[in-house]
């Protein structure tokens, strides 16, 4: 029965998407379907994490075909952790989107949002659970195609422009991904991670390095690694707040997860990988500096998102247990806090009617204390001040960097501290201008200050920001699990024997 636990997060949202299309004429039905499906995924993810942590990796062979011929779904601790945190985010964003929809349009009946959103979450979950390169590609495409639809909803000229950039960049990485799969298949004749890891060991090291770099490029576009990040701050801010939140929280992190999984299980790096560390350094610095220059709060957060992808790359690039633990903790922390901040700033934008700092009327803290508290906690968390989850993740990362024998690791640890301060500065700027002080003469586009904030939307924000606090509260068990997850990810032979199992 444990096999079903692995299948549910990927298949149940797809089933719900089908049902959602069927019942789109029935009042409230779509909302119930989405809520039940994502809630079930959340419960399933929690059980999966407990089972995996107690009994080790769960492998599901689809159709009973043995790997490497058949498709396998693999859940180890890393996958289970990512699935659980992503499930929390999908539910919170769903709540927010429902609240926003009801607040804007009243309880309308039909919408294309639900089926598409469910397909997106199915793609995200499948990406975490897949055990082969081609299913990873399919999962990415499920996720990206759904995201293309979400970002092109609404017909303003600005959104069409942003969507074009987004779709074309996404497609280019898709085409490169197919090319990569063809190359890998030509070199080894398999796409299963575990099997690939064994076969690639016999392939010429130059060839292996080239494939590894091509994979880094493909994922670099999807995860917005500098210099392949240019599309992200252009396209994310134009989308509605819940869409941006789920993109920022999940899509880039799925890329980071794929990078962790493939570079360890398939390409089996053991030592510090300088290419990745340099990319991490540039990503951290350029993202943070870009954030400081921005005027639009959503663009500022998008640049911070790019910058903080660098932290996870830093942890991965060390290819040590401490570094990887830090990267995993950072990914978990960042998924919740980034999505939460986008949602909170979405509420601020609804309240003030502006996203541009120059047009912010200010004084939000006095008018909406709850909103200000949520933003303050989120901002402090993202910057990594104690005692929240960001601090925990950063300390683990810094310890990994300081412990590495490589000079670059130490340089990156220093850069990570500097970038934290820059992050804090960028967020403090928003705090000073938008939240502090009295209400200045705002020249906001639409005066919405009197509108009541939807309690559903604030609940969604509280859930995500609270998740960051909860992670800090359970820091002990969480780091222990992340530590075990990192150990297992680096222990490639146990992964291989778990997946390929009975054959040897």
């Amino acid at each position: 029965m444990t096999g079903l636990l692995v299948a549910v997060p990927a298949l149940l949202p797809l089933l719900a998407a089908g049902v959602s299309l069927l019942v789109s004429r029935v009042r409230h039905a779509q909302r119930v379907v989405s809520g039940v499906a994502l809630g079930a995924v959340l419960v399933d993810a929690a059980v999966l994490l407990v089972v995996v942590d107690a009994n080790g990796t769960v492998v599901l062979r689809l159709g009973g075909y043995p790997p490497p011929a058949g498709i396998t779904l693999v859940a180890d601790r890393l996958s289970a952790l990512m699935v659980l945190v992503s499930a929390v985010v999908t539910i919170a964003v769903l709540l927010y989107a429902l609240g926003q929809r009801v607040a804007d349009h009243g309880p309308t009946v039909t919408t294309s949002f639900h089926p598409v959103y469910l397909v997106l979450s199915a793609g995200v979950m499948l990406a975490y659970l897949t055990g082969d390169l081609f299913t990873l590609f399919v999962a990415f495409e499920l996720m990206l195609t759904a995201s293309y639809v979400l970002i092109t909803r609404g017909v303003t000229a600005d959104r069409v422009r942003a969507a074009m950039t987004y779709v074309i960049t996404g497609l280019t990485s898709t085409l490169l991904f197919i090319t990569l799969i063809a190359l890998v298949y030509a070199a080894t004749g398999t796409v299963n991670f575990a099997d690939l890891g064994e076969k690639l060991a016999d392939v010429d090291p130059g060839m292996r390095g080239a494939l590894s770099l091509l994979f880094l490029t493909v994922i670099g576009i999807k995860a917005a690694i500098v210099p392949l990040h240019f599309w992200l701050p252009d396209s994310y801010p134009t989308a509605p707040a819940p869409v941006t939140a789920v993109f920022a929280g999940l899509l880039t992190k799925v890329g980071v997860y794929a990078l962790i999984r493939v570079q360890t299980a398939v390409f089996a790096h053991h030592d510090v990988w300088h290419v990745l560390l340099v990319a991490a350094l540039v990503t951290m610095l350029l993202g943070a500096l870009g954030a400081v220059a921005q005027d639009d709060v959503n663009r500022m957060l998008s640049f911070l998102l790019v910058s903080h992808i660098g932290y996870m790359l830093f942890g991965l690039g060390l290819f040590s247990k401490a570094g990887l633990t830090g990267a995993i903790l950072y990914a978990l922390h960042h998924i919740t806090v980034q999505a939460g901040l986008f949602l909170v700033l979405g509420l601020v934008a609804r309240h003030t009617g502006a996203t541009s700092l120059r047009r912010m009327p200010g004084g939000v803290a006095r008018q909406r204390p709850l909103l200000a508290t949520l933003f303050a906690i989120g901002a402090v968390n993202l910057a990594g001040l104690p005692p929240l989850s960001g601090f925990l993740a950063k300390v683990t990362l810094l310890r990994g960097g300081a412990a590495s024998d490589d000079e670059l690791g130490v340089v990156l640890a220093g850069a990570a501290v500097v970038v934290s301060f820059v992050t804090l500065y960028a967020l403090a700027r928003v705090w000073v201008i938008a939240f502090w002080g009295g209400a200045r003469e705002g020249d906001a586009d639409a005066e919405r200050s009197d509108a009541e904030l939807s309690p559903v939307m604030t609940t969604a924000c509280t859930l995500l920001i609270g998740a960051g606090v909860a992670m800090a509260a359970f820091a002990g068990p969480l780091s222990a699990v992340a530590d075990r997850a990192a150990t297992h990810v680096l222990d490639v032979t146990s992964y291989r024997s778990a997946v390929l199992g009975g054959q040897r």
Partner: protein, 134 residues
């Protein structure tokens, strides 16, 4: 594995033509570029599967079968590129309705920030910018 030179040459031509088109401004050309590279990638998958053979259906002797896995992968990739091509077509159509052309545009916000006064990052000057910015 024997390498089919014709396929390799065809792939090189298709990929370079496709990526050249991808670099263009007009969305229609970009679209054609994506379709072209998509075909190239699928062809590449076929080339990766080794020499051609019989289709893998019941009754075909094992030795005569061509590798079915790349074919399955190519089929999936075709479906995906098909779906996204349709989406891009719809986008190009919407763009031509809204903006009267199908050009892929730059983000204006980038340019605006580049031209903004250098002292923008201080809250005090932001307030002054609020005045002269409007």
């Amino acid at each position: 594995m024997p390498i089919n030179t014709t396929l390799v040459v065809a792939l090189a031509v298709i990929y370079s033509a496709g990526f050249y088109l991808l670099m263009q401004r007009s969305l229609m050309r970009v679209l054609l570029g994506i379709v072209l590279v998509g075909h190239g990638a699928n062809l590449f998958l076929q080339a990766a599967g080794g020499p051609a053979g019989e289709p893998a259906t019941a009754g075909t002797p094992i030795g005569a079968v061509s590798d079915p896995l790349p074919q399955a992968m190519a089929l999936t990739a075709i479906v995906i590129t098909f779906a996204v091509t349709v989406l891009l077509l719809a986008l190009a159509y919407r763009s031509s309705v809204l903006l009267n052309d199908d050009e892929v545009r730059d983000d204006v916000e980038d340019r605006r920030i580049r031209q903004a006064p250098e002292s923008e990052d201080e809250p005090a000057s932001v307030i002054s910018l609020r005045e002269d910015g409007q």
